[in-house]
Symmetry: D2
Subunit: 233 residues, 4 copies
């Protein structure tokens, strides 16, 4: 029997790779999607049952096109993880209208177009899972988060609308508030004074993302937060 | 001595006109801005001390251009009321990417560009007021509010960033959550079974908008909600 | 004609006195209520049209008893300002069950009993205003705010229930989130490195409290926040 | 080797029993605590590895006393689930001060005293889990939820303080917003027109409660919501 299919949009070092690994380990065929095809191909060699698809979240035609390729090649998408994120950390003075718009196109409009393209098959199958990776910035705007926070707030609102609409159709939409710094070589180098405990292990984030897709349907979570145990919040 | 200047973006029947009237009554010269120059000119004839400026909130060049005209003709803007709003009430299936984007351009990007253009003069003057008109949809997404709610959430997040940034520069940013249906001929005709009590009087909304610009600076409000006394919430 | 009556529960240096002064200036007879009768009598000598009533917010019988005295002596209460507050700033280890309970009795149960006692007359008069003074701690619990934050959250929830219940009866309930340090001799002495700008002037808070009681009923505010312009939030 | 110990406060038909069953299935010895010793003893016969302890959440001495019995008889508590709940659904007019206080004593003060009694051993062991069962009413007060919502809001605020305090000590505090009606014989009989899909299966709730105690510590959840897929929210 063929494996169920999980598509991860926004696969780059960190959450995207860890989520891919987790779903692969749990028996999924994983369609890994991002702009960087070289990184996808490298990742695909390291993780079993993964398939690379170049995907630009700001391209209005990408979802229809890529999702139909995925369906043809590995099967109908059962789980969609929307991990595409972008957004300068900048204040009102340092933010250009281009970067403000780009953050919204990647985080919010990209989710909108991906969902529009994925739900027809989920509806046909009578089930599905859409997990959106958000951030603390989804909850409030601060001085230095003008493009990112505004886009994430728009994304979260959209996810709420989707959850309320698609839940009764047996499509589970959930939103993950990641509240902490992911522990990558780059972030660790950038914050040399922080201990390992300070950082979030993306493999740990992936555990909760996967769990959301396994919740029995009489008790679904829409939103959960994730933060390292020592985080001040 | 010349009158202080208030610019109202998004003047159409309802809040925009009532806010204009209130600031005019309180001694301001009011720059009324919207796409519909005919409506502006008609309004301008009815309310003293108003000046019409054609303004398309989705036009990236409008703020710089129009605000410099306002400055030249009537003076430096002291109060900016951002009342531009748009957004179909539609669910995920009925929302096109164009209408989703348009809602964001009017509500969110339009606020971004207007604020970028207005703050240099406010900073020069060492003071200013920016009041943004939001809605209950700013707080959460529902089934039938996909474009509107997502854009309003993005707008509110941006307003939060602005408030935190500009407050210490003596520029007061505030956000008004309007939770109710404005009583206009159109809305009343559309809801013939509702009593007058059900509707919000836009003149009453204008009272609180004006009050926000008068709060003493040791006790500024960022956000307040407004709803009719009988509203279920 | 007799003056309208405002009762302020919790009159001590700061908000209570400033709110009293504001309502007195605006033509109200003000019933000032607190445990400290000496302070009330001193205050009463300084502010016109004020009347002292000893009142312990934790005493279950105080509201019925005192409000009927107020009604007899100066008239039916039109505006009730609930400013009683208490609550150690302490973490879970430093908080005794007694101080945890006391914070709740003053902030929450005291509001409950006061409202139960004041609404019969407001209903009879067909109108009324209840303004509750909250704090940032009403919105979230932190490490060092165990008794205070928990009590304030309970108080805010109760105020929400009251607002939804009493609004349609033309009784306006509102909740003020005070987010800053009140500038008193004691607080200024305690924070000698802070500039005057850092502190909230209680007279400025009183302006917004009074405004809430004047909002026209088609556009009532339930909640607003107040903070000094330079506050980080 | 002895089994790890989970204590469940508030074991009655529904969540309490299902959580007990789940932890028993996963290899825990479960201390089941409630006022109703007969029900506990009946439950204890049906579920393996359970031990009954009579426990009144409003009794200030219960936690110290019962937790030391648990420690002596089955071992040090590793997981505490606080499921004690009470609170009439009543509006301001129908709520007596006694029922208002009782709701707070069970939901809020009972959590406070239980946590004070359980943390010394958790600290000694360098780890622990505290899961608190909340409700939608924790988030807002409505007309008919005066005692319940106010108490739940106070409980949630306390849980937030606890999470921020105890996280860095490797004690994971989490809060579960149960947003739906539990499917019990009593609730189903009470709502005969609702389909089975309408109700939450308490076994499904228990899955998420258990998962919270298994999250790896670089990515802990403080709060998650749970609702049936068809719920309007």
């Amino acid at each position: 029997m063929s494996k169920p299919v999980c598509a991860v949009i926004g696969v780059c070092p960190g959450n995207g790779v860890s989520i891919t690994k987790k779903f692969s380990d749990e028996g999924y065929a994983v369609a890994i999607c991002s702009r960087n095809i070289e990184f996808l191909n490298k990742t695909s060699k390291k993780i079993n049952n993964t398939h690379s698809f170049q995907y630009d979240a700001t391209d209005l035609n990408a979802p229809e096109k890529v999702f139909s390729e995925i369906t043809d090649q590995i099967g109908s998408i059962e789980v969609l993880v929307y991990n595409a994120g972008a957004g300068q950390f900048a204040n009102i003075d340092n933010t250009t209208v281009e970067s403000f718009q780009n953050a919204w196109e990647v985080n919010t409009r990209g989710l909108f177009t991906a969902v529009k393209a994925v739900i027809p098959n989920m509806r046909k199958n009578g089930k599905g899972n859409i997990v959106v990776i958000g951030a603390t910035a989804s909850l409030r705007g601060n001085v230095g988060t003008v493009p990112f926070a505004s886009a994430k707030a728009a994304q979260r609102s959209l996810a709420q609308s989707l959850g309320k609409t698609l839940g009764p159709e047996n499509i589970h939409v959930s939103y993950v508030i990641v509240d902490g710094v992911i522990g990558l070589d780059t972030t660790k180098k950038h914050m040399p004074d922080k201990q390992d405990d300070f950082f979030m292990d993306p493999d740990d984030i992936a555990e909760s993302v996967f769990f959301l897709t396994r919740q029995p349907k009489s008790a679904w979570t829409f939103e959960l937060d994730l933060r390292p145990f020592g985080e001040k919040w």
